[in-house]
Each structure stands twice: as structure tokens, then as C-alpha cells.
């Protein structure tokens, strides 16, 4: 066999040697350069002793620690605990945020009853509530989940409410002349119309969810990523601290990617510029 299947699939590459780099667009490749240089500088500084390990461990050390902790199950169980807290908090917060927004968005009475207290609560600093939460819920799982739930509820409430109220009144008139019931109006016009804005709220609230989780886990935890990081600080294990941060970041990026996928699926009807 002299011709590989790759050559057949890429007729424009005929006559030129196959280069893996050709698979990546030039711009994406160019963007990889500076982070790689930074990583190399960091590695060099760490291995020459310029950067002491008690301040920041070398990238290779962090990677090795990551593999070790993955192998002995420490990392996976820490991730599982943290993800469960974030997931539970997100679930409660999302149900509350979207539920309240639908009630306030669909009726004047609901708006007058719900919006003022929610706007007042929103003005409170989320993390300033931690002392109260500890007094109310103790130091177990409840205050952590509650903090995440509260952080998640507000962006979802605000955006979903704004989305519902921003639905084009002319489309509501269409529903009226077509004799649609109020339920049908909500189902076919109001809720789908509010979806783009609600999805913006979802992305914001996921950002807040991870942030709230990190703060809550710093305060008092006996398991999870926050506990792993705090514990490592006691022993000056900067490799474990950085590993924990990287995992938090990766989880944040992952949920953001999921929402973006969701957006692309749910909003195919829009003719905005392709993303």
C-alpha cells in the first residue's frame, strides 16, 4: 500500500508531505504559543530552584501528584464530594430561581409580591451570609449547598424574569388573534421567547455556583476539593493546592461548554452570526 487513506481524504494535500500541524488552523496554533512559553518558563524557574516549591511547585510535579492522587482515589472522591455539593445546590437554586421568575413574570400580583423582597435579598453580599448560615445550618453539608443554591438562584431569577417580560408583545397579539389559551400562549410564545435570556442567566449562575462552592469549602470542610486544598496548605504542598485549583477551573469550563452546547441546540432558529 503506497497511498494512505489520509492522502485520499485530503486531495489538496497531494504532493506535499503530511504535517500534523496542518490539521489545526494557523490562528489556533498561534494562540498556543504564549501559554506554552509561560509553562516552559515556569518549569525552568522551578527546576533551577529560582522558584522554591513552598511558593509554587513545578508543572511536572503537579502533573505527577495529580496522577498519584488519581491512582489512590483521593482526587476522584474529592471531586465527587464537591460535584455533589455544587449539583445539589444548583438544582435547588435553579428550581427556585426559574420558578420565582415564572410566577413574577407571568402575573402583576406575582411581580409585586416577589420582586421587591428578591431585589432586597440580591443586594446582600452572598459570602457575608456565611456566619448566619453556620448559625442556622451548622457546619455540615447544608450551609455549603445553601450558599451555592442562593448564588445560583439570583442570576437565573433576574434573567428569566427579564426574558419573560422582554417577549415581543406583537407575538402575544398573534396568540390572541389565533384564540390560543393562556396556557398555550405561555407554552408556545412566552417561555420559548424567554429562553435565550434564561440561558444567559444559566451561564452566569453556573459561574457563581463554582465560586460559592470554593468559598463554602474553604470555611469548614472535612471532604471535597476545598478540604484537599486546605489540608495541603498545612503541609506546604503547593502541588496539591494548584492541582485543586486546576480541577475547579476544569469543572467550570466543562459546565460552561455544556451550556454552550445547549444554547446551540435550543437556539438554532436564530440567524445570528455562527459561533
Amino acid at each position: 500500500m503506497s497511498t494512505s487513506s489520509l492522502d485520499l481524504a485530503r486531495p489538496h494535500a497531494r504532493g506535499r508531505p503530511f504535517r500534523p500541524a496542518a490539521l489545526l488552523p494557523r490562528a489556533a496554533l498561534a494562540r498556543l504559543v504564549s501559554p506554552l512559553v509561560l509553562l516552559a518558563v515556569w518549569q525552568l524557574a522551578a527546576s533551577t530552584g529560582l522558584l522554591p516549591e513552598r511558593l509554587l511547585a513545578a508543572p511536572t510535579k503537579i502533573a505527577a501528584t495529580g496522577l498519584d492522587l488519581l491512582r489512590d482515589g483521593t482526587l476522584t472522591s474529592a471531586i465527587a464530594v464537591s460535584v455533589q455539593r455544587a449539583g445539589l445546590g444548583f438544582l435547588f437554586g435553579a428550581v427556585a430561581g426559574v420558578g420565582l421568575a415564572v410566577v413574577a413574570g407571568l402575573s402583576r400580583v406575582g411581580e409585586h409580591a416577589l420582586d421587591p423582597p428578591l431585589q432586597m435579598l440580591r443586594a446582600l453580599p452572598l459570602f457575608g451570609l456565611i456566619p448566619l448560615f453556620i448559625l442556622w445550618f451548622g457546619i455540615g453539608e447544608t450551609p455549603k449547598v445553601a450558599l451555592v443554591a442562593l448564588g445560583v438562584a439570583f442570576p437565573l431569577y433576574l434573567n428569566t424574569f427579564a426574558g419573560i417580560r422582554g417577549v415581543d408583545g406583537r407575538l402575544a397579539e398573534v396568540a390572541e388573534v389565533l384564540d390560543l389559551s393562556r396556557t398555550a400562549l405561555v407554552r408556545h410564545v412566552v417561555l420559548p421567547g424567554a429562553l435565550p435570556q434564561a440561558l444567559v442567566g444559566l451561564r452566569q449562575s453556573l459561574g457563581v455556583a463554582w465560586l460559592a462552592l470554593i468559598v463554602a469549602e474553604q470555611v469548614n470542610a472535612d471532604a471535597g476539593l476545598g478540604f484537599m486544598i486546605n489540608n495541603a496548605r498545612e503541609f506546604l504542598r503547593t502541588d496539591v493546592v494548584v492541582l485543586g485549583l486546576v480541577v475547579y477551573a476544569a469543572l467550570g469550563l466543562l459546565t460552561d461548554a455544556v451550556v454552550r452546547l445547549l444554547e446551540r441546540r435550543a437556539l438554532t432558529w436564530r440567524t445570528g452570526f455562527p459561533v
Binding site: G193, W269, T271
Partner: protein
């Protein structure tokens, strides 16, 4: 009564065979003390094509919205027989529903084939699966007409539906509307500011001025009509004068 109480319009849906498509008696509408409709009387017979002309701000859209049931602040009598359907100036398709689903939203009884039939009738048989925002202006307006006609309305209200279209598209849309009207036979009220459009399409042309029907002309010229037909030329001059436009060269 200086200020009429809003919401005392008597609206009735009549079903008798002899009832007109719509009957409006003494319809009055005020906005913040400004009288827009001042006792309008109007009857649209079954299957009659009526065009309503008026300067901007004359209240012609207000009258249409009252007939569509979108204005609850009117006083007077409104009677409509059968279903009412509306095609607005902007097509107002629901952007997150595909074209076929938009048309199906107009159906009064679940009939899966009816939406496809209506789309075929307006020449959009192949566009049922398209998203509304990908349609051209003319296509979107045709889909809007299909959504209105699928209701088999007794009264079809057209609120300047061709004014945003280019001249060529407008000509094909005029033909399409006449064709659909021929086949389905609803009473039609076309609100427009285009005298030629009114003369080409309608059985009767009304001029709304000062909150009342100030003038009406019957157009007996057989269809298809040509705008240079001598009858239409004479009528055009009368209507333009009624609309406050003096003929060219005599101003």
C-alpha cells in the same frame, strides 16, 4: 357623555346564514381624551372585499384592531360572524417555530394535513421545515397569510400587509390575495394607504377621516384590473382628493 367608559362595546359572534361578515355600529375610541374613532358605522358583507383608506393617524388600524378583538377600550357595537383572522404589516411569525408549526398554530381543529395544504396554496410547499428568520419578506408574508387562511375565517383582516414589500413582490402578493379570496370567500377588510392597491383589489373603497367613514366608492370594474382603466383613473382622483392630496399640476 363626555368620556365613554371603556369596555362597554357589545361584541357578538353571530352564526346565521344571512349575517354579514362584520357589522360595526357607532364605534368610538378615545386615547387620553383624543377621539380617534367617532361613531364609525360599517358593514362588511359575506365574501365582500373592502379596502379602508386613510391618512396616517386617521384611526384605520385602530378600527382593524377593534375588529380583531385586540382593543378592549372601544365603545359601540361590534358583530363578527365566524372566525376572524389577521395578517399584520410585519408577518409576525413566531421565530422559534418552523414555518409549518407557525401555520398549524392557526388551526382551529387538529388536522395535520391542513397546514401543509395551506402552505402549498401560498406557494411555500417546500418551506414548511424552514425557520421563519430564513425567509424573505415576501415568503414570510405568505406564510402569515397561510396561518390566517388555515382558520377558514369569515372575516380576514389585512393590516397593510404589503407595505413593507418591494414593488415586484407586491404585485405577485396582490394576485395571490385575490386568488385566495376567490377560493375561500372570506369577507376582507384591507387597511392600506395605497390608493392603487385599494382600487386593484377591493369591491368597495372607504375613506376614514375625522374618526368616521367620510367617503365610500364602489369599484365595479371586473378583475383582473389594470391601473390605467378609465374607471379607476376617475376613482383615483376622487379618492386622492378625499385624502387631501391635490392632483398634480393644479396645486
Amino acid at each position: 357623555m363626555a368620556h365613554g367608559l371603556p369596555g362597554v362595546t357589545t361584541t357578538a359572534k353571530t352564526g346565521g346564514d344571512t349575517a354579514p361578515a362584520a357589522r360595526v355600529t357607532g364605534l368610538t375610541r378615545r386615547f387620553d381624551g383624543r377621539t380617534v374613532l367617532d361613531g364609525v358605522d360599517l358593514t362588511i358583507e359575506r365574501g365582500e372585499f373592502v379596502a379602508l383608506l386613510g391618512r396616517s393617524g386617521s384611526g384605520k388600524s385602530t378600527l382593524l384592531r377593534a375588529l380583531a378583538g385586540l382593543d378592549r377600550g372601544t365603545n359601540g357595537g361590534l358583530e363578527v360572524s365566524g372566525a376572524v383572522a389577521v395578517a399584520f404589516q410585519e408577518p409576525r411569525l413566531i421565530p422559534w417555530k418552523r414555518v409549518r408549526a407557525n401555520v398549524a398554530l392557526g388551526l382551529r381543529a387538529a388536522d395535520p394535513a391542513a397546514a401543509a395544504r395551506a402552505l402549498a396554496e401560498v406557494g411555500l410547499a417546500d418551506h414548511g421545515g424552514a425557520w421563519p428568520l430564513t425567509l424573505s419578506g415576501g415568503e414570510a408574508q405568505r406564510a402569515s397569510l397561510a396561518r390566517a387562511l388555515v382558520r377558514e375565517p369569515g372575516l380576514l383582516l389585512l393590516d397593510e400587509p404589503f407595505s413593507a414589500l418591494d414593488a415586484l413582490t407586491r404585485i405577485t402578493m396582490h394576485r395571490l390575495v385575490l386568488d385566495l379570496w376567490d377560493r375561500h370567500g372570506p369577507g376582507v377588510l384591507l387597511v392600506t394607504h395605497d390608493v392603487d392597491e385599494a382600487l386593484l383589489l377591493a369591491d368597495r373603497v372607504l375613506v376614514l377621516d375625522g374618526g368616521r367613514i367620510a367617503h365610500q366608492s364602489r369599484v365595479a370594474t371586473p378583475r383582473p384590473r389594470h391601473r390605467d382603466h378609465p374607471d379607476l383613473t376617475a376613482l383615483r382622483a376622487t379618492l386622492l382628493e378625499r385624502l387631501g392630496v391635490t392632483p398634480e399640476g393644479t396645486a
